[in-house]
Subunit: 329 residues, 2 copies
């Protein structure tokens, strides 16, 4: 898969010290790319220097926020591909502080795109969208043509970010691909709080032998992807001209109920307990119900499909955090 | 139509010195409402004190921008209904200065909604959406379930504004209705430039006996509404609980080609010439093609339909500007 394509390519990753960005950086270093990590290291976000452990001398790290126009103007120059992953990622925080979300996920995306338009209009961008853009869905599985009815400000603004990319593609020819990623878990995710990346947070609670609260009956379906599969989709999209101007869902093909996810985590961690509780108000008002992705389009266009089963992915994740706990707790 | 409903109701109108807002203010004064006009009088926007001519002593005018949190906190208090019309409205400007558009149409909307949530959660809001949210459409007529693929930053951000209202409705119970208005023309529109409200601009050019440029062959269909019909839709939505949390298209039922619109304007103005020219680049890259609205939903839910034919509306508009030219040129 596009193995040779990235060799000596100049690649930047916004949010590159975070979960998905750093996993992608590890892959890109293996493929021989010249990698620049861009990350603002915002408190409570996913940035963690340990995420680069093993490749710290093989990448360039530049601390900068996507809202920093001066920095973006310089950093986007001369890049072949930019994986644009940095953003505000908490559903709950987007409701308690909608202004921060709009500043990062709307204005910040425009700062980034304007920098590309002015300084590197030939760049290829892969933007991290989210299943949160769909919000409440009428039927599952959900394909890319489904109506977008987000239930929180985060979902609205990620959708705006996606549309900005498509417009900079149609109006200015900036090659952009959007991947609407589903719930993603795996190594190198922040483990300090459960404001986003809830499945990784469940793993922490289990490893700490804590009681894990499942809201309601936990029957709502989720579509979990292991981070390596998601990284591969980004690499494939970045290397493909056929993907320009396109939006793709990622998904697992095997949805799992929230309850089942937690049971599997407790079983494979070998610790932790489960309790069923009422939905907390701040979660209830933005809950979307079942989500199952139809990812036929990316399978057909780019040949992507997930390769890591849910139990296998959880096992690898548990093993990673057992080994490197001190860098994440 | 909801004639008694507005008597002594406390109503605010953002963008109330502009085109649609001021026409609505005239109607509301007739209906006996207690009207507060909120407008920032931004240069190049539609605000014009002459728009209140005849009702200037019957309304309260408060100069304030929706981005002004302190002013919004006070102004939304004790209102029964707020017609939220203020915003950045130029497609072209949203591309040349996307940051201003995001600041007004995203952040500004959140400032306004947060003010309502904190100070008047029982208020009813009618938000002015736009057919620009649809962008390029696959088939016409377009109903409210059609996919939203805006071609410019304005369309993206107006859509974000709509979704913010729907989320503040679903999450916090703030009663909101969205009207996606089509191309609207009529008295009290700014006549200084053609950055938005293109059909009114054509009327100015004709009255000045100028040459009107039609881009391409001018065959693209547009759906024009006379402003009185649009005002009536806002009044009906504001008075209806059935409209809460809903999105409605407005439309004419009789789409007109751009070329035909210009011909009618020249004929009824009795002056002006037409020339066909190439699309200018800044318009071409954001052009959407045909737009025809399906407004069945608002007809069924609220009983609204337009009452002013296109020629009749243009005649009234021409007569208005012939009489009051000095206040708009």
């Amino acid at each position: 898969m596009c193995k040779d394509w990235y060799k000596e390519k100049k690649v930047a990753i916004t949010g590159g010290l975070g979960f998905l960005g750093s996993n992608l950086a590890h892959e890109l270093v293996l493929l021989g790319a010249d990698v620049t990590i861009v990350d603002p290291m915002l408190p409570l976000y996913g940035g963690n220097l340990f995420n680069l452990s093993g490749i710290e001398n093989k990448v360039t790290v530049n601390y900068a926020d996507i809202r920093d126009a001066g920095a973006m103007d310089v950093l986007v120059k001369d890049k072949d591909v930019i994986f644009h992953i940095g953003g505000q990622t908490s559903h709950v925080d987007s409701m308690s502080d909608p202004f921060l979300d709009v500043d990062i996920n709307c204005r910040g995306n425009l700062v980034f795109l304007e920098a590309c338009r002015k300084n590197n209009p030939d760049v290829k961008i892969v933007y991290a969208g989210t299943r949160g853009q769909y919000g409440v869905v009428n039927t599952t599985p959900v394909n890319e043509e489904a109506r977008l009815r987000p239930t929180d400000i985060y979902g609205v603004n990620k959708n705006a970010g996606e549309k900005y990319h498509l417009i900079y593609c149609s109006a200015y020819g900036i090659q952009s691909t959007v991947l609407r990623i589903s719930n993603t878990y795996g190594p190198r995710h922040q483990m300090k709080h459960g404001k986003y990346g809830i499945q990784n947070w469940m793993i922490r609670l289990a490893l700490d032998d804590e009681t894990i609260s499942v809201y309601g009956d936990g029957a709502q379906l989720r579509d979990f992807n292991f981070v390596d599969d998601v990284s591969r989709a980004f690499l494939m999209a970045g290397a493909s001209n056929a993907a320009n101007g396109k939006v793709y869902n990622l998904g697992s093909g095997s949805p799992v109920s929230f309850r089942q996810m937690v049971k599997t985590v407790v079983e494979l961690a070998g610790s932790g307990k489960i309790e069923f509780v009422e939905w907390p108000e701040e979660r209830r008002i933005i809950e979307t119900g079942d989500y199952v992705a139809d990812f036929t389009r990316i399978k057909e266009d780019l040949g992507w499909k997930p390769q890591t089963g849910f139990e296998q992915g959880i096992e690898q994740t548990v093993a990673f955090y057992k080994r490197f706990r001190q860098h994440y707790w």
